[in-house]
Structure formats: structure tokens, C-alpha cells
């Protein structure tokens, strides 16, 4: 998305949430949802609307794992790496998925196809290991399922 299209979306997010109590997270979540990430230029706008300093705004954005400072890949794969998934072979699945996608956790592939992220618990601990692919949850993963997912998001 060209940067010129982003700021009206940021403005809309500010306008629709600015009046609520504790508005920072609702605004940031809305920006991330519509723009896909939190652009640098959004921070002073949000800071001004909330009457906080830009430094404070930066502090808020950088605190939460979910907020991205640059666009994600076209597909986002969030693999659970917590204990219940570890107990069901999650470490092997993580390794295989990362190898097949050719990216490390926290990285986006150079072609912009896929971002691989670690999450700590999707609450699917009785059907572990689990992953969320573009918002779709998949449980009882094994190596083959991991490869299928890799193929799917690289297509």
C-alpha cells in the first residue's frame, strides 16, 4: 500500500476511537488492522490526539508484541511455542516449518510472501501443537502438516 493511502486510515482509526476511555490500544489495534502495521508517521498523529508525548507513544507501541513497525508478509504464520505444544513435538514442528519457509521466527521472507512468528499459547493446548495461519487455527500439527502449510503460503 503506498504511504499516501495510509494516513487517512490512521486518521479514521483515531476519529472512531479517540473518545473512549484508554483509547491508545483501540486506536493502535485499528491502525494495525486497516493499515497492516503502525507507520512511523502515525505516532505523532496519535500522540497529539491523545495528548501524550511522542516518546510515550513510542513506549506503548514497542511494549506490545503484536504491533508491527513494518508491513508483514502476505501470509502470517503464528506458531505456538509454549509448553503444551512442546510436549507434543512442537520444537520439531517449529524447526521444520522455519526450514521449509526459509525464515526464522520474527522474520519476513525476502519475497514478502510470509512472516513467521512465535506466539505463546493459542489456547489450543489439548490439540497441540497448534498454529494460526492468517487467522485460521490448525491443531494436532505434525511435520507433514507443517510442510503442507509451508507449501500453501508459498504458492
Amino acid at each position: 500500500m503506498p504511504a499516501t493511502d495510509e494516513m487517512p486510515l490512521v486518521r479514521a482509526a483515531i476519529d472512531s476511537h479517540c473518545g473512549v476511555e484508554g483509547a491508545a490500544l483501540p486506536i493502535l489495534l485499528a491502525v494495525q488492522e486497516t493499515v497492516g502495521y503502525i507507520p512511523d508517521d502515525a505516532l505523532p498523529m496519535i500522540a497529539e490526539a491523545l495528548n501524550v508525548s511522542r516518546a510515550e507513544m513510542h513506549g506503548i507501541v514497542s511494549f506490545y508484541h503484536d504491533f508491527r513497525r513494518e508491513p508483514a508478509g502476505r501470509h502470517v504464520v503464528k506458531l505456538c511455542r509454549a509448553e503444551a505444544c512442546q510436549a507434543m513435538g512442537g520444537r520439531e514442528v517449529a524447526e521444520r516449518l522455519s526450514r521449509k519457509l526459509g525464515v526464522d521466527f520474527g522474520e519476513t521472507s525476502p519475497d514478502g510472501r510470509v512472516t513467521l512468528e512465535a506466539v505463546y499459547c493459542l489456547g489450543l493446548c489439548a490439540c497441540a501443537p497448534a498454529v494460526m495461519v492468517d487467522g485460521r487455527v490448525v491443531g494436532r500439527l505434525d511435520g507433514e502438516a507443517a510442510e503442507r502449510i509451508a507449501k500453501e503460503v508459498q504458492a
Partner: protein
């Protein structure tokens, strides 16, 4: 009349294919001219049988599972819609042993009702607790909750009634601002726990009712549910339920025609485990970094935006309607010692029968893991269970006689936490698990206090040296010393409890750390 068929919309069921099953069922039924009405219910909590499809026959509900889309045709051939036999038949749902053995007070409706239907909720006894509460004085409601012995189900186990009483008795600031708040902690971040998610996806009106009763009890008119971003399904269902409750006048300016106001809003988190800590959650709700606050002041005195605030876990609020409708005594009669009522225990990880098992406190770990959970999913011997999430201790089978209650687990250097049990088989490397505990703490530390912020990073490094076999004894002494510092010096449970998994792993599995068992025994 169409036949009601239940295909769970619970995220756990969806993760193993429930959506595809629902689509297949709908298409084939249409093709064959069957009139069916597919209800996307919550999960019954028998995850090894998901997707678990139920058919409402005249007598009772019949269960089939685990159903794959390709099974649907043969299920219809076998007369599933009349409850016919099939290889996937599980019989009447209520007679499945895993369910029959439970005492479901909080989860009585989960998986049974349509989670978006207020009518269904009422038809199954919903809002009876609120109806009772509306006839009572605030202090009487608080008294009931106190008398029930209910303790916070989020992990700390603080008596819920005392918390409510404190908020009830805290004067507002006298500057004309009369606001008090009810906040629900739905930031269920512990691995191995998913009862909050299930409940919000399967019976969200129960949480709404519990929070409304809390509002009446302490004089609060506004409530927030702080929900973690990893739970998008719960967000959708809960918001639908809130809208339905508001539409029916069960939330808003005039709750159930009582003249009393209470309204609710779901707020999403943004991926921070520490926001499950109550003061950090409040900071986050206020739109700040989710950094822990020093206590005092307690949230009951100065909570959200500095106002008196009740903050409880999903399961604590969800226990309240039963206490009001059936009476405090009925609830208190379950349980043992100072752990009263029931606990939805969550079996997870490498376990054959993973799922939610609600029961009065007091079963032993062994009964839960081996008898109810059926041992490991892999079929290998159980080597360790982690109880109470990533900050909970690891227990070996030699301690499986430990009863599942707050005090008994504490007495053995563990914690009950949010009631999750993660099972590991004999392939687990406990040194790697200890290292992970530090690593997780380092990733999720809010950074406010030094023992947690620095200790977790140093702990990970020292564990790396132990695992590499470098100067093992000296480094393990360092680990022990570090754990002591984190335990005593951290501001909240994240840094303060990370030593539980580390030290329990080291104590019970010294051989995984390159330490001879004799040396460990001598050190104790």
C-alpha cells in the same frame, strides 16, 4: 421440524476441522433432503473426540466423534439424524464417562447451548442468579460470595468475596466521580489453560451475568473484559452475546427493568503475557505500557483510572451465578480444606484424553493424569507434569499422590494457578524446560523490576552453559542463587514464580542437568 445438529464452533474444534464438517453436513443434508438446523455450540471439552458432532433426538443427544468431513456421508447413511449406530458412535453424550464423572457447575451449559442465544441460555437456567441478586442488598450479595468460599480462579487464589467487600466499602473520591469498575481478566496466557476461552466461546452469557452481579454487588456501572488477542473466536462470540444481552435489556441503563445500570465492553490486548497480572492489565486498559504497579494501593482501592475496581478472572465471575441461584452453601459443600467449590481442570499437552474436567477440589494428580487423562497421547511413560502454567512447578510421578488443591500444591512447592496440567512423556529434557522458563520470562518481562528483567536473561545464559556441560556445578549454584533473588525480589509473579519450574526441574530431575542424583539429595 428440522433436526438440531451440533457442530462446535469452539476454536479447538475448528482447529481440527469442525468448520469443514459443518459445511459438508449442510451440503449433504440439502442434497438428500434432510431438514437440519446446524448449531455451532461450544465444545464439551473432550478434545480428543473433536470435532464431536451431536444430534438431538427425542430422548437425548447422541454423540459422534472425532468426525472428519469424509465421514459425514457414511454417518448420514447410518441414520445419524435418528441417532443411528456408526463406527464413530459415542452413545448418548451425557453418558460418556469423561463427562459423567464430572461435577459441572461452571461448565454446565458449555457445549450444550447455542452460545449466541439468550433464549437458550434462559431455557437452561441462565439469569436465575441475577434475578435473585436483584432482590438483594449489595452487602447481601457480597456476603453470599464470601460464604461460598470462592477463591480467585486466575491463579492467586485470593477470596473473591473479600475483594468485592473491599470495593463495596471503598468510598468514591468525593469529587462527584462515583465511578467504580468491574474488570474481567480474560488474558489467559498460561500454556495448558484454555477454560476461559472455552467458556467465552461456549457460554458467554454466564460471564456477562457474573459480571453484572458483581456490578450490583459493589455499585459499579461499567465493566470491561480484557481479552487476549490470540483469542479472536472468543471475541466474536462474546461481543455477539453482549449485543444480545443489551438488546434484551439485560445490560444497559436499566438492567432487567431494575432501574440499575450496568454495561460491558470487550477490550483486546496486543500480545503481552504480563498483562495477565492484574495491575499490568489495568495499565494496559488505561492505554499505557502494561507495566506492573507496586501494591499497595490495591486495585480494590485504586484500580482502573484510580477508581475502586473489582478485577477477577473469567472463571471467578462465571462461578458467581450458581452461588447466587443455588446458595453459598451448595457451592461450599464441594471441595476440601480451604479450597471450596469446583475447579475446571484443563488437561493438556501429551495426554491421551485432553480436555476440561470440572470437579470438586481434592483429586490427586495421579488420578487426574492417569485415570482421567488416560496417560500420555504418545503411549510412552509419563515423566513430568507442569501444573499451573509456565510459572508452575514440574511434578514427577513420585509426587502424584498430591491432591489438586491450593494448599496441597503450595506445600509441595508448586501452585495451582489457573488449573492447567501439561503432561510430558519420557522424551522430555528437563534442562531444556528449565531454560525455557527463563527464556519465556525474558521475552515477557515488563522490565519494571531488575530481578525479573535481568535475572531472566542471565538465567537463560547460565542454563546454556549448564546444558553445554561447562562448569556444571558452579553454574547450577548460580542458577539456585539467581532463583532465590528472583523469588524474593521481583515485583510480581512473572519474575517471582519463574523459579518454580526451574527449581522443580532441577530438584526432581538432576540427571538431566548433568548432576548426579546423590549430589542433589545431599543438597536438599
Amino acid at each position: 421440524m428440522s433436526i438440531r445438529v451440533f457442530v462446535p464452533g469452539d476454536a479447538g474444534a475448528v482447529a481440527v476441522g469442525a468448520d469443514a464438517v459443518a459445511v459438508e453436513l449442510e451440503e449433504l443434508a440439502l442434497e438428500r433432503g434432510f431438514a437440519i438446523d446446524i448449531v455451532r455450540n461450544g465444545s464439551r471439552g473432550l478434545y480428543w473426540l473433536e470435532p464431536l458432532v451431536e444430534v438431538e433426538t427425542q430422548a437425548r443427544r447422541m454423540a459422534y466423534g472425532p468426525v472428519r468431513p469424509e465421514d459425514v456421508a457414511s454417518l448420514l447413511d447410518a441414520g445419524m439424524l435418528e441417532g443411528g449406530r456408526h463406527a464413530l458412535s459415542l452413545g448418548p453424550t451425557e453418558e460418556i464417562p469423561f463427562l459423567m464423572q464430572q461435577t459441572r457447575l461452571t461448565f454446565a451449559r458449555c457445549g450444550v447451548v447455542d452460545p449466541r442465544s439468550l433464549g437458550d441460555y434462559r431455557a437452561h437456567g441462565g439469569y436465575e442468579g441475577l434475578t435473585k441478586a436483584l432482590t438483594m442488598q449489595p452487602a447481601e450479595i457480597v456476603e453470599q460470595v464470601k460464604a461460598s468460599g470462592l477463591r480467585g480462579r486466575g491463579g492467586a487464589g485470593f477470596p473473591t468475596g473479600i475483594k468485592w467487600e473491599t470495593v463495596l466499602n471503598t468510598p468514591t473520591d468525593g469529587k462527584g466521580a462515583e465511578q467504580k469498575y468491574i474488570v474481567c481478566n480474560a488474558d489467559e496466557g498460561d500454556s495448558g489453560t484454555y477454560a476461559d476461552r472455552m467458556l467465552m466461546e461456549g457460554d458467554p452469557f454466564l460471564l456477562i451475568e457474573g459480571m453484572t452481579i458483581a456490578g450490583l454487588a459493589v455499585g459499579a456501572t461499567k465493566g470491561y473484559i480484557y481479552l487476549r488477542s490470540e483469542y479472536p473466536h472468543a471475541e466474536i462470540v462474546t461481543n455477539a452475546a453482549i449485543a444480545a444481552a443489551r438488546h434484551a435489556g439485560m445490560l444497559g441503563a436499566d438492567v432487567s427493568g431494575s432501574g440499575k445500570a450496568f454495561d460491558l465492553e470487550v477490550r483486546m490486548g496486543a500480545g503481552a503475557y504480563v498483562c495477565g497480572e492484574e495491575t499490568s492489565l489495568l495499565e494496559s486498559l488505561e492505554g499505557k505500557r502494561g507495566q506492573v504497579r507496586a501494591k499497595p494501593p490495591l486495585p480494590a482501592h485504586k484500580g482502573l483510572f484510580g477508581k475502586p475496581t473489582v478485577i477477577n478472572n473469567v472463571l471467578s465471575f462465571a462461578a458467581v451465578p450458581y452461588i447466587l441461584s443455588e446458595g453459598a452453601e451448595a457451592y461450599r459443600d464441594f471441595g476440601m480444606g480451604r479450597s471450596r467449590g469446583t475447579m475446571p481442570i484443563q488437561l493438556a499437552g501429551n495426554v491421551k484424553h485432553g480436555g476440561v474436567f470440572e470437579m470438586a477440589f481434592g483429586l490427586t494428580l495421579g488420578e487426574l493424569v492417569n485415570d482421567i487423562g488416560g496417560g500420555t497421547a504418545s503411549g510412552r511413560p509419563v515423566r513430568a507434569v507442569q501444573v499451573g502454567g509456565p510459572l508452575g512447578a514440574y511434578f514427577p510421578p513420585s509426587l502424584f499422590d498430591t491432591p489438586f488443591d491450593y494448599e496441597a500444591l503450595t506445600a509441595r512447592d508448586g501452585l495451582l494457578g489457573h488449573g492447567g496440567i501439561v503432561v510430558f512423556d519420557d522424551t522430555v529434557d528437563m534442562a531444556a524446560q528449565a531454560r525455557f522458563a527463563f527464556e519465556f520470562c525474558a521475552i515477557e518481562s515488563c522490565g519494571k523490576c531488575t530481578p525479573c528483567r535481568l535475572g531472566a536473561v542471565r538465567g537463560t545464559e547460565v542454563m546454556d552453559r549448564v546444558i553445554a556441560g561447562t562448569d556444571v556445578e558452579a553454574n547450577l549454584t548460580l542458577v539456585e542463587d539467581l532463583c532465590e533473588t528472583m523469588k524474593l525480589g521481583s515485583l510480581c509473579a512473572l519474575g517471582g514464580f519463574t523459579p518454580f519450574p526451574v527449581m522443580s526441574a532441577l530438584r526432581h530431575y538432576p540427571e538431566d542437568f548433568g548432576r548426579a542424583p546423590e549430589r542433589a539429595a545431599a543438597a536438599e
